[in-house]
């Protein structure tokens, strides 16, 4: 593999296992950056706006506002961000507060509905509460995703076996939201690891299909923050004489 092939084919149908991945040198980072930037640019296309009105999930504007704050606070002077013409000053309206099931009401001894659980986790992360419970549930979700490379709408007792259709794009995006929020608050590389795999999977899906089911602004923000965090880590830790994208 001399390219960024992890997003080339639909990874819901053909999951990556990432085992013994081949070392490609510094230029591999360029392939990664180009691939993510291509997706971010494709999501900015105005023709997709019409699909976004129909999205039901109320959490998206709140997430976007939170992620946008991170972007402004940490990366507003980043040249890569500027080159993408991404509008970080865009006004985001958060219409009303919705009620979420308390995170403490979920139990692995009962069947768990994943959309409800993820909404509660994300809500806790946005209000910065229940940190231990957030990690508890996130670790279960990370484990399930890493083993099967799928997320199911519900999990049976003991959180081992998934049930239902594993092709629901919004569930993958919601886990990605939770992971980016967790990484930003803890800097634990384990969560960036799973986020990179989830982003690969989401980016491998056709944009035309994706925008019908997920917020393109939320997805763009996640990909941007992931990319800029990786860029920052590389800049601080890798010496390179060549002018790679992260320089």
């Amino acid at each position: 593999m001399m390219n960024y092939d992890y997003t080339k084919i639909n990874r819901l149908n053909s999951p990556n296992n990432y085992m013994y991945s081949v070392y490609q040198g510094n230029k591999f980072f360029d392939f990664y950056f180009q691939d993510r930037i291509k997706k971010i640019k494709s999501l900015q296309d105005r023709k997709y706006e019409k699909y976004q009105q129909k999205l039901k999930l109320s959490i998206y504007p709140r997430v976007n506002k939170f992620l946008n704050k991170i972007l402004v606070k940490k990366f507003s002077n980043d040249l890569l961000l500027k080159s993408l013409n991404y509008n970080i000053k865009k006004k985001i309206d958060v219409d009303k507060q919705y009620r979420f099931k308390p995170l403490s009401s979920f139990s692995i001894r009962k069947e768990v509905k994943i959309e409800c659980l993820l909404l509660s986790i994300i809500n806790s992360q946005l209000i910065q509460k229940n940190t231990k419970l957030v990690k508890f549930w996130l670790d279960f979700l990370v484990q399930r995703f890493e083993v099967k490379k799928k997320i199911y709408p519900s999990y049976k007792v003991n959180f081992r076996k998934g049930k239902g259709d594993s092709n629901i794009a919004s569930l993958y995006l919601m886990l990605a939201i939770s992971l980016i929020l967790f990484f930003c608050s803890t800097k634990k590389i384990k969560y960036m690891n799973t986020l990179l795999k989830l982003s690969d999977l989401i980016c491998s899906l056709d944009t035309k299909h994706l925008v019908k089911f997920v917020s393109k602004d939320t997805l763009s923000l996640i990909l941007l923050i992931e990319l800029l965090n990786i860029k920052l880590i590389l800049k601080k830790n890798i010496k390179s004489k060549k002018n790679y994208a992260f320089k």
């Binding site: 992890y6 296992n17 990432y18 085992m19 013994y20 991945s21 070392y23 490609q24 040198g25 510094n26 591999f28 980072f29 990664y32 670790d139 990370v142 484990q143 890493e146 590389i189 384990k190 960036m192 690891n193 799973t194 990179l196 795999k197 690969d200 990786i230 880590i233 590389l234 601080k236 830790n237 890798i238 010496k239």
Partner: protein
């Protein structure tokens, strides 16, 4: 020194060859080895290339270890379990194919399976953990454990940390196997001198479980030469 209560279960991998070379170098031999032969023409995780079993056979003969070959790569297969069950050795050094997890049916046959995990336990459980420890502390680790049903959570016989190698591109097939071999030999030498298994840490609970490293982070671990900030 011949260890007559110890056997080995061996996949055709670089790690197995490393273990056998280390035994030969330290003049140690075990009583028996079972080779799990990959007779298909496809590479299994942990194999860099398909080789004939001859290289392993040559090393086993050099180490004066009696062996059998089974055309089966699955440690949990009943035919493999039956072969191990009927042996007299109580402890088997396990060097299987990548990602092989021993299920309860083999763990319940009243044998102990000595595995050297590539990572310092209990801090680094799971897969490819040495890349994570390079990122977090610029070190590699290896831990000898007896396998239990909970992954990487069996009692720790011995664990060691190692300095990061100069050429990090060779971690997967070279350094990872070499540091595991060093821990294995130290562990066996302690067993010989004490005439029993010594446990450095019986309680191996807690720690963090990691999953196969993403290529972006793997490249970061290889190309950086210090703890990541």
């Amino acid at each position: 020194m011949h260890l007559n209560k110890i056997g080995m279960i061996l996949a055709d991998t670089y790690r197995t060859k490393c273990y056998l070379r280390a035994l030969i170098k330290n003049k140690l031999s075990v009583n028996y080895a079972l080779i799990l032969l990959n007779s298909k023409n496809t590479i299994i995780a942990g194999q860099k290339k398909i080789t004939s079993k001859n290289e392993i056979v040559k090393l086993l003969k050099e180490a004066k270890i009696n062996f059998e070959v089974i055309n089966n790569t699955n440690i949990n297969d009943n035919k493999v379990i039956e072969r191990i069950k009927k042996r007299s050795e109580k402890v088997f050094i396990f060097s299987g194919y990548g990602g092989a997890i021993l299920k309860e049916k083999i763990l319940n046959i009243e044998k102990n399976f000595l595995h050297v995990h590539g990572g310092y336990l209990p801090d680094y459980k799971g897969s490819t953990t040495n890349y994570y420890s390079l990122i977090n502390e610029n070190k590699l680790g290896a831990s000898a454990i007896f396998l239990t049903k909970d992954i990487d959570s069996g009692p720790i016989l011995l664990r060691k940390k190692f300095a990061a190698p100069k050429n990090r591109k060779l971690i997967d097939y070279k350094y990872d196997s070499e540091i595991r071999s060093r821990v294995l030999i130290s562990c066996l030498k302690t067993y010989i001198s004490l005439k029993k298994w010594k446990f450095e840490k019986k309680n191996n609970l807690g720690g963090e479980t990691f999953f196969i490293i993403h290529p972006v982070l793997k490249h970061l671990a290889i190309l950086s030469n210090r703890k990541i900030t």
